[in-house]
Symmetry: D3
Subunit: 292 residues, 6 copies
């Protein structure tokens, strides 16, 4: 039985428009980092973001090396899931008939979390055809593919219906795009009073310009981290009014400390993140805003 509120996938707009976007898509089409795949396998929830909260350091003391790996993997997944739940909790009270838009959905974990929590319809969008396919497969396995769908589209130009969404978010995906274009699209698809949430790494204007560490992170992910000020300026221009802003930097450090000690999962960028957080040049920030 069809569920009208879910956006069709037939008339997909062109997902990439620039060389840069193609390069980002190539990156994610090729990406198979264990830190994303191994953690996701645990419960078939694939997150593409970092974790928050205090870690259970005891997992490092596990004497059996295989078991230690498993426990570390599980602990990191727990922290990532805690982040996803924090974000989802900001989406506000949602009804099963509501639609949400997951901008930059990766392998799809966030949309599933939202659906599990609220029973709502979810449309995830990713520039990577492979991620969209992967995510749709997980939805089919869970039997929620009538309500949760992933689209290989450009999140700046989704083709989704105007005013049709009750909530939307970017979970560590806003650093790949021009914020004015991104927020214009969110403002367009959200209904009046809808909720937008972004969790992002941003560089700290108080520190000054982008630090060396921030540039190294940019080079690692082929992204272009915005200053914190850019988020508020672009929101102000796009009818998104913050209602809750939380600096998650401190809460993110245990995740990175644990991950840097997980030999089977490290990607090599861990120490750079920790330095960037600690020298004050980089922040892990959540903004919840209302579409007015």
């Amino acid at each position: 039985m069809t569920t009208a509120p879910v956006a069709r996938t037939t008339t997909a707009p062109v997902p990439t428009q620039s060389t840069y976007q193609t390069r980002v898509a190539d990156y994610w089409n090729a990406e198979e980092n264990p830190v994303n795949l191994e953690l996701g396998k645990i419960d078939d929830l694939y997150h593409h973001h970092y974790g928050i909260g205090e870690a259970d350091w005891a997992v490092l003391d596990e004497p059996d090396s295989t078991l230690r790996r498993e426990r570390v993997t599980a602990e990191l997944h727990r922290l990532e899931h805690a982040q996803a739940e924090l974000l989802a909790s900001q989406l506000g009270p949602l009804a099963p008939a509501d639609r949400v838009f997951d901008a930059g959905c990766g392998r799809g974990g966030g949309s599933v979390v939202a659906n599990l929590r609220y029973g709502c319809h979810a449309d995830g969008v990713t520039i990577s055809a492979k991620q969209a396919e992967f995510a749709n497969e997980t939805a089919r396995r869970r039997g929620i593919d009538d309500k949760v769908r992933y689209h290989h589209r450009n999140m700046l130009d989704t083709g989704f219906e105007s005013g049709a969404y009750a909530a939307s978010w970017n979970n560590e995906s806003s650093m790949y795009v021009e914020l004015d274009l991104l927020f214009a699209e969110h403002a367009r698809v959200l209904r009046r009073g809808g909720r937008y949430v972004v969790v992002t790494g941003c560089y700290n204007d108080t520190y000054g310009r982008a630090s060396r560490e921030v540039s190294l992170i940019n080079a690692h992910y082929i992204c272009d981290i915005h200053p914190r000020s850019a988020y508020f300026r672009a929101m102000a221009r796009n009818r998104l009014v913050p209602v809750h802003v939380q600096d998650l930097t401190e809460a993110a450090i245990p995740y990175w400390e644990l991950r840097r000690q997980a030999d089977h999962l490290v990607t090599g960028i861990e120490d750079t993140f920790l330095s960037a957080y600690r020298n004050g040049s980089f922040q892990y920030l959540m903004i919840a805003a209302d579409r007015v």
Copy 2:
């Protein structure tokens, strides 16, 4: 021994420029509400704002009517003080040599709280000559008048030195002024990296325009409550970048519930506040921002 960092009071700019400002000044010169004076007498800390946090409802059960009044008064003062401490905690690490600017200082409680917490210099500014005089007298009684001074000035045009302040705030005083002028003045006097904090009632753009309750509050205080969006737009134009935003509406309700039952303290606006908070048209908000 002289303390150079404190602003001189000799070359005070004209504190009022418009009829409206004169009328506001007249209101506060004449104001002698028990809810401000009786609470302040407890420990010589005069706050001009509301309280937050859970209330000790047992004070209402006190059988002796005089004692009940005293306990209710003390409890409301405790809640107001908690609010002042929350704001002060956002001013960041400050050294005794730092200067802070208390914009719209009323009878001076906030500057004292900051001085007690950080040992810093404080300059409070109020449009009411009577409040400035009252507050300076409390500073003298405490023996901190070498570090804490109150000025009868216009907070939009303080005459204070540019870049000389490490932190500044408005505690329920921003609804009397044009935000662009206010934030321009804060941005001017704050040093790069300085912290600005505002606690304010704002109307909720998500609800729509100003509700009847918001207008009644405006009429009560001769103020002009801004929509929440106005704060973020004006900050974006004045190099103030939010880093922490907290909706204190829920936390403010116990204070108002208790106060409406305090016959000796009510001003008549209590039920209007509660209705405004509860119908979603009004919010009690804290924004901490960095001057970049």
Copy 3:
């Protein structure tokens, strides 16, 4: 015989989007003030605005109380009609084939006045279903329902054809909405060179912020009176260029003086208006502008 230029009423967009708008609609659906209904009955022209011009004070001297009431009612209606005619005279030369848009039409008087003067088509829009129905009934009685239609819609989002209107106006209805959204809609539906007129109460930036009286008026009508500056700023952003601006404050005072003495018609807000006009905090303003 069909009259193509009149907008269809079939595909009405949702008229209310926010709680505030619902509350305003409820107010006007319930409103049955004699000052609106009794005056309208005289000649089946129902105005929802104030009057201008010198009053015939002799009506107060009528010894017979019933007759006095009738004469006062008629005199107030005459002043209201003079205002409607002044506004209509600013709409410029219009031909019978032209279409005009009456934004916030109330019980429909303004559209009838325009039709009588120019023979043009008129589309009135009101957020109150009851007002739209009432107004359409008056058009039927006059036999002009082929040219004058009233729609239960949101004037910020009319769904009317772009560039199809030769003139449009807000007669005391702009204080309920965000001006940028309102003027964007007028600019959209007006043809190049079309005329827009607004008559409105605005607060006077020269005085300062909103006075207590202005807030009391806001509370009375659940509206949110803009400062005068807001009109010119929003017009500048929306291709509306003023060509005639007139301060009608002095001209409005006789109407209010007479009305406050009309016991059978007063609503209780009369003295507040007179105070607001006289202390300089409030103005009754007309702006005629061209769509360029």
Copy 4:
């Protein structure tokens, strides 16, 4: 006896900064049009602007040619004076202690009119050294040089004291400058609540771009006539809020009709003005605005 409120002439900033300004100054240093000089001689009031109001056409029927010239000259001067009085009437109630700023004062008539009406201090500014000298000489002849002074300065950068003026105006001089720079200077020197008035020819955005006639007028005077919209946009950016806007085009036509028949006074641009007014491409506009 000294009159402190009059600006000193000692520290004059450089009056011209660009080649264009030098060329304009050269024009006015050399200008000796009878229409300016002959009219001014009548009562030693030298206006540099056009006239308004109905003309006494009988002057053309005067059979004696010398007398006809005199009567035509007097009639044109009467119409120009009427314009100056209309402008002066918009400056609001002014006290003798108030200061006014006449931007682009020409040979000084406007400042004298203001002084005669209000007894106020006046500072006229002109880019032409010869005009400033001429005007100061007329003030000496009238014995008002203690209150009325003319300065050879750049009206965009007067060096006058901030907030010291109660009123200011441009009478047909705004078409020589960038409006944002001009209004920024007015906003700077005016006190809060001060009144600004401009009378100007502007081109009509409703017509489209500058017509051939407007360009011919520009070529005649080496000026650069702004579109009407430019005035409102620049005022909106510079805290000047219109309160009265009047289209004087119709009222200006008799003056030009009479002048074109005054062989001893014509400058050759008369028919172009009449065409421009009549084809709708050009307007003669007055805007009175408040400094907020």
Copy 5:
């Protein structure tokens, strides 16, 4: 055989909206200057712009007067063609399947040049019905009317498909329109990464405002020359980013020197152009920009 990429001519939007536009259209419908027609006849390439590069002054020494006229005509055409080629060279590498938009195409020369160089599809737009017809006839003669089409439309509102064009330009046609509207339309029809080129006379902000010569040129052509700054401001607001800017003033002088000596071709504006270029008030400028 149909060529889909060429825009249809059936649903032409209204080409003129204002009196000014009608007057400009009338001018070009009536225009039959030899300098445009005689030069075009040489090779059936009709340019409506000036020439650049060093001239072969020997043509003036030709003793036979008929031959001299022919050689001068040919030399001027050569210089105009050089300008057209310079512009076309900035359009970037284009493929035959690409579409280009020639805004203000006159009698069509530029579109032909682009087609000859790149084999691309071209859509020319002119407000003159006569020019469009003339240009389409030349395309038919060349047998390229399946790829090159001219439309009688308004270049501010072409009705062309969004994002469908690889390049677009204005060759001396931007001085007739509001730049923000013009660039918005270019930005709309260009694909991301598309190239926009403008060659234009602009007045030089460094000189000051429009000089007398600039105003005479405006009067001659009924145009409204923009300051140089206006181009960069409007591009910045419309996602057009300059990548090459070249001052062609010096390169344009030989053309004008030669033309002023061509008695059979002069239009009377030649000396004014030369004065304007030489006194620094006017510039001949090319800007190539990318649509981002």
Copy 6:
């Protein structure tokens, strides 16, 4: 003999305000790359930028290794000097009495080049105390320290006199700062009509966001490369109007090709530059603009 036009060095404002600026200063205080020092030694002209123009590849064929190194060094220096001369040639005709401002002067080469070419006064500003000292020493050796001075200051806040400079520039130093602050300072110190020139690496908006290569360059130099669009937007806001824009990317490649083969001079970033230029993500751009 005194040289008044040179800025005093006595009242230096604080050169660094943020952690980022301190880190940049530390970098340059410690920097001793042979590519900067060895090249400078040749003729005591120390450049801190790249070279342009075709290279003499024969230097690589020099069989003697010591001589080859010398010839390569000399060739690279020649290319860098060509760049400095190109920039200097854009500063316009300057007289010996004119002052120029070299923003981000490094070890001082650019100011010397300007002085040698025009005989003008020069004020160089660098955030590195060591560079300022080094540069002043070279000026003393050349005997031009009466006209050329280097200051240890913040180029965003020089303390230099307003309107006192005829020309100013940034040669590869704008990527360390916020462009709006930078251009505001240039606009402040330049006289009306003054010339500003920037040579910079910028990322190409047409490509998309910052590429991995751009981020690696940022990490290498601790800088924050702007998109090309940012320069034009910030100039438009700060009264700087481009008059010449040149893409120097192609012209820069020989320099980098030669340098990557100079083992004694490479810093390791050479291949990244070449990749960035060649994949279209990065450009080497010159903009000359007028202060209006």
